[in-house]
Symmetry: C2
Subunit: 234 residues, 2 copies
């Protein structure tokens, strides 16, 4: 918990078009919290007491089945809002949010949502736009799961992570947070075994380099061919 300087959030598209005084007023209602790696920011089914803006780090949003299987709904990067169930008329969080690395996030009490979105229409509009984008992304994922083979789905998932958090290194583009085979499996609806086999095969072909909780894409273009099924079967 602590003060937040306006400059930390002034550049975010989320707050585009809001005057400095407005930002200060928005921030006045927020509190900043640090979350240790692997801790939960909120949990599925829990009362939705707040919504969040990630300032630093990476969040993994996970939905669990009654049988205890987990599915990764999405990753959140710095600058994105999350836990906005409250903004959408829900009273409980539909998923659990884990800090993938040490994170810092702002939070506002749910009760402030209507107030903020009314007072700063562009903030509301930007948020809804984000929700709309996520709905489309999720539909895309449904389509992928319905029509593609595992190999394509995993390739697509990696490419999406690259887009979101790719970081250039001298070997290629690195996914900028620890991610295991199991994690990738939970994003794509397969098993860690199958993911491991795929990554091994791709590494042999020189598409990627990977290690413990680490994936670097060496040849994004070829990976894209795989994702589109234009790659000959091995």
């Amino acid at each position: 918990m602590g003060r937040v300087d306006r400059s930390l959030i002034a550049g975010l598209p989320l707050f585009a078009g809001i005057a400095p005084e407005g930002l200060d007023r928005i921030l006045a209602g927020a509190r900043s919290t640090r979350y240790a790696k692997d801790s939960a920011i909120f949990e599925q089914e829990e009362e939705a007491h707040a919504f969040f803006l990630l300032l630093d780090g990476h969040i993994r949003v996970v939905r669990s089945t009654p049988e205890g299987q987990q599915v990764i709904v999405r990753y959140i990067s710095a600058g994105e809002i999350f836990g906005i169930a409250s903004a959408l008329g829900r009273t409980t969080y539909p998923a659990t949010a884990f800090a993938v690395v040490d994170c810092v996030a702002l939070s506002w009490p749910t009760s402030m949502w209507s107030e903020l979105s009314a007072q700063f229409p562009s903030f509301g509009a930007n948020t809804y736009k984000t929700v709309g984008t996520r709905l489309q992304d999720t539909h895309t994922r449904v389509v992928e799961m319905a029509t593609e083979q595992v190999e394509q789905r995993v390739a697509h998932a990696l490419l999406r992570l690259l887009e979101q958090t790719g970081k250039k290194t001298d070997e290629g583009i690195l996914i900028d947070f620890p991610i295991s085979r199991q994690d990738i499996a939970e994003m794509t609806g397969t098993t860690l075994h199958t993911v491991s086999r795929l990554l091994s095969a791709w590494e042999d072909k020189g598409l990627i380099r990977s290690g413990r909780q680490k994936v670097t894409v060496v040849d994004p273009h070829k990976l894209m061919l795989v994702a589109n099924g234009r790659s000959e079967r091995s």
Copy 2:
């Protein structure tokens, strides 16, 4: 195209808490259109010129892959809004909407969205709540596709259709619009062959009765057991 009487929409939750004069003003900007069975209300990639409210009938929202495969995103029933891409900051429709039966829908030009939602906050709020619900529903679907076998997915899909449009008959609960094996396959990410086999097996067990483009659920409770995987393998 034509006039719409206020009474047609006054009872909808979407317009709850809006005065009669407000409704009239909302309707003044709308136009009513009839769509013949199997016609498209709008098409994927098309400019999002309007958003819609279904007054009567059933709509199938379909997303196509570049390879021409189709996935049913959802069914829309009377009273629901659809084509609200515009409300979410998109400029094109992300999917195609087909009239499953003869339909009647109201439409408003996209440009009216901001005006209406500003003037009638509860209308805006209800719409966003709907979007939130759909996002959750879609996530649920992702989880199902990631963790369940085809049999469970198909059972879940049928149960969802029952919930949405089930109509009691003397044989059981009927899905109230024509739906083919192919349609069910496109909802669940499988093939019409597999769906046909499943329905046949369920019919033998007395769970359902089905015919050409028609499914009646005789024993919803047992179907729920199948959906939850609590049914012994055949």
